[in-house]
Amino acid sequence: MAGKTLYDKLWDDHLVKQRDDGSALIYIDRHLLHEVTSPQAFEGLRLAGRKPWRLDANLATPDHNVPTTDRARGVEGIVDPVSRIQVETLDSNCDEFGILEFKIMDQRQGIVHVIGPEQGATLPGMSIVCGDSHTSTHGAFGCLAHGIGTSEVEHVLATQCLVQQKMKNMLVKVNGKLGPGVTGKDVVLAIIGRIGTAGGTGYAIEFGGEAIRDLSMEARMTICNMSIEAGARVGMVAVDQTTIDYVKDRPFAPKGEMRERAIEYWKTLHSDDDASFDKVVELEGSEIMPQVSWGTSPEMVAGVGGHVPDPEAETDPIKREGIVRALRYMGLKPNMPITEIRLDRVFIGSCTNSRIEDLREAAAVVKGRKVSPLLKQAMVVPGSGLVKVQAEQEGLDRIFLEAGLEWRDPGCSMCLAMNADKLGQGEHCASTSNRNFEGRQGFGGRTHLVSPAMAAAAAINGHFVDVREMMN
C-alpha cells in the first residue's frame, strides 16, 4: 500500500464519520472568529436555541473593521457607525456565549491569522477553520486549515465538526536555493503565476522542496496564506524542527512533558516517502525573481525585470479578453516595463505580510532613505499589537517614521479597505497584501502585489525597482 501524504494523515486523524454518500464529518480543533463573517452565525445559533459545542476551541478578535489610527478610544473611536456596530456585535456575541476574545484594546488583538500562530493557538496537526479564506495561512504548521462561509461558522460553533469531501493531493516543490532578495511572497506569486488562479481548485497543496524547507515559519505562512489565490483552500508545509522551535513557549502551546508528547506526534506530520500525489508541480528556486502583479488577478504577475504582457500574444480567447480588461482597469500599456509603473501609495501589512520578519525586511530597505515625494502615502500596519510592540523594541518604527512612512495600529487595513484606509480612484498601490481584484483596496484602486522588500523599494523610488539593486 502506498504511503500517505500529509493531507491524508491530517484527514484521517480528524475523521469523525465517513458517510455512505461520500461526505464526511471532520472534527475541528480550533475555530477562529472575527467580526465580519460571524454575526449571522451567532444569530443562527440564537434562533435555533443552540449553544457552542466546545468553548475552548474558539478564539475571536476584531480585525477587518478596526481603525489603524486613534485607537485610544477603543470601540467608541470607530467613526463609521456601521463598522462600529459590527465590532460591538462581536464583543456582545463573545460575551454572551463565553468565547475568548482579544478585544480592540487588548494588546493581543490583531489580524486573526497573525494572532493564532503568535499565541500558539495554532499548533501542528490541528484542524483550523475561520470564516476567512486566508485561514490557509495556518497550514504552514502542518495543519489542515481552510476558510469557511458563515453557515459553516455556525455549523462549527454548534457541532465542532464540518461536513467535507476529501480533496485531491497536489505537491508544489520548489527546488534548490532562492536568490538573495527573493522572499516567500515572490515564491508564492511565482507559483500562482505558473499554475493560475484556479490551478489548485479541488486540491490541498503541500509546499515542499529545499527552498521551502530553508524558509522561516513566517515565510512559510506567507506562502500558505496565498494558496487560496491559486484556488486551493488548503496549503501546507510539513512539520520540521523549524516548526517545533517556533511554537515553543507560546501561551497556548503545550509545555514540559506535554510538549515532549506533542513533539512525538508532530514529527509524524509529513508526507511519507512513497506517498503519491494527484498532481506535482516543480519550480527552480534560483529562477524565481522578485515578483510584481500587473493585473487584476493574482496570476497576472511578472518578474520585476519583465514587461506588462501584450494581449495579442495570448492564444486563449478568454484569457486574452481577461488581459485586455485588466490592462484597461489598471491603466497600463502592453509591453511596458514593470519598473515604469508609477505609484501613488504603498501599503505594508495584511495577513500575508505583517509579521515581524516582514517589517524587518521592509525596514532594512528604507533605513537611512526617504520616501519618494511622488507618493501620496506609504503606510506600515503591523499584524498584531504584539508585533507592534516588538517592532518598536527593535526600533523599526523609528526607521519607518524617519523615512517618511506612517506607523499604524494593527488590523486588516488597506488589504480590503473595510476601514478608513483605502485607495482613491485610479491610484496605483504597491501592496504586500494578497488580492489585486478590481476595487479591492478602494473603488477604482489599482493594486500591485509585491513582497515587503519590494514595497519598501517602491516607496523610496515612487515606481517599481528591483530591490536587489538597493541591497548591499
Partner: protein, 215 residues
C-alpha cells in the same frame, strides 16, 4: 433553507472569467450583521456608475447601461450563466446571499471556486458545472434569443434548453439531498452527536494538549 427541486428561469449571460467575490459583493456591504438585503448591491461596481455606500437607496443611483443585469431582457433572470472560476477569492457568504437576494436560484459555469461553490448550497442556490463547450453554446443561445430560459431538474441532474436539448451534470449526494429537501445540515450533523462525543473523548486521550484554554 429554501428547497430546490426543479427550476425554470430566464438566463442572464455574464461573459467574464474569474468573477471574484469582491466583484459579486464589495466589502463596504459586508458590514451588515444581517443575511438579507444584499440584492441591490449585487455586482455593485459593475452595475452602477458611482461608488456604492451601505444604507443607500440604490434605485436613485446612476446605472451602467452596458452591464448585463441592467438590460430589460435580463431583469427577471434567475439563472446566471458564467465563465471559468466563478466566485474566486474571499469566503464571504454575502456573495451567495446577494445572488439569492437578487433572485438567482441557479448558476451555470465551467468551473467554480471551492468555498463559493460550497456556500451556495447552504443558501438554496444551485451551482452547476457544465463543459466549457456546452457553456459556450448556452451563451450563444441566451444572447441570441430574448427571454431564453433553461429548465433545471436537480432530481434528474439535468439542464434542458428550450429546444429540448438536455445536459447532465454531477452533484454530490449529500449536497443534493439537503438542497432537494431544504435541510438544515446542523440538524443532520447533530443526529451524530454521540459519534462526535466519542471521537472527542478519544482525541482528549491522544492529543490532550489541544484541550483547555490557553492564554
Amino acid at each position: 433553507m429554501r428547497a430546490l427541486k426543479q427550476h425554470r428561469g430566464i438566463v442572464a449571460p455574464m461573459d467574464r472569467s474569474n468573477v471574484d467575490t469582491d466583484m459579486i459583493i464589495p466589502k463596504q456591504f459586508l458590514k451588515s450583521i444581517k443575511r438579507t438585503g444584499f440584492g441591490p448591491n449585487l455586482f455593485d461596481e459593475l452595475r452602477y456608475l458611482d461608488e456604492g455606500k451601505p444604507d443607500q437607496d440604490s434605485s436613485q443611483r446612476p446605472i451602467n447601461p452596458d452591464f448585463v443585469l441592467n438590460q430589460d431582457r435580463y431583469k427577471n433572470a434567475s439563472v446566471l450563466l458564467a465563465r471559468r472560476n466563478f466566485g474566486c477569492g474571499s469566503s464571504r457568504e454575502h456573495a451567495p446571499w446577494a445572488l439569492e437576494d437578487f433572485g438567482f436560484r441557479v448558476i451555470i459555469a465551467p468551473s467554480f471556486a471551492d468555498i463559493f461553490y460550497n456556500n451556495c448550497f447552504k443558501n438554496g442556490l444551485l451551482p452547476i458545472v457544465l463543459e466549457e463547450e456546452t457553456v459556450d453554446q448556452l451563451f450563444q443561445e441566451a444572447e441570441k434569443e430574448e427571454g431564453y430560459q433553461l429548465a433545471i431538474d436537480l432530481e434528474a441532474k439535468t439542464v434542458t434548453t428550450p429546444s429540448g436539448e438536455t445536459f447532465a451534470f454531477e452533484v454530490d449526494d449529500f449536497r443534493r439531498h439537503c438542497l432537494l429537501n431544504g435541510l438544515d445540515d446542523i440538524g443532520v450533523t447533530l443526529e451524530d452527536a454521540e459519534v462526535i462525543k466519542a471521537y472527542e473523548a478519544s482525541r482528549r486521550e491522544t492529543a490532550p494538549w489541544l484541550f483547555g484554554a490557553g492564554g
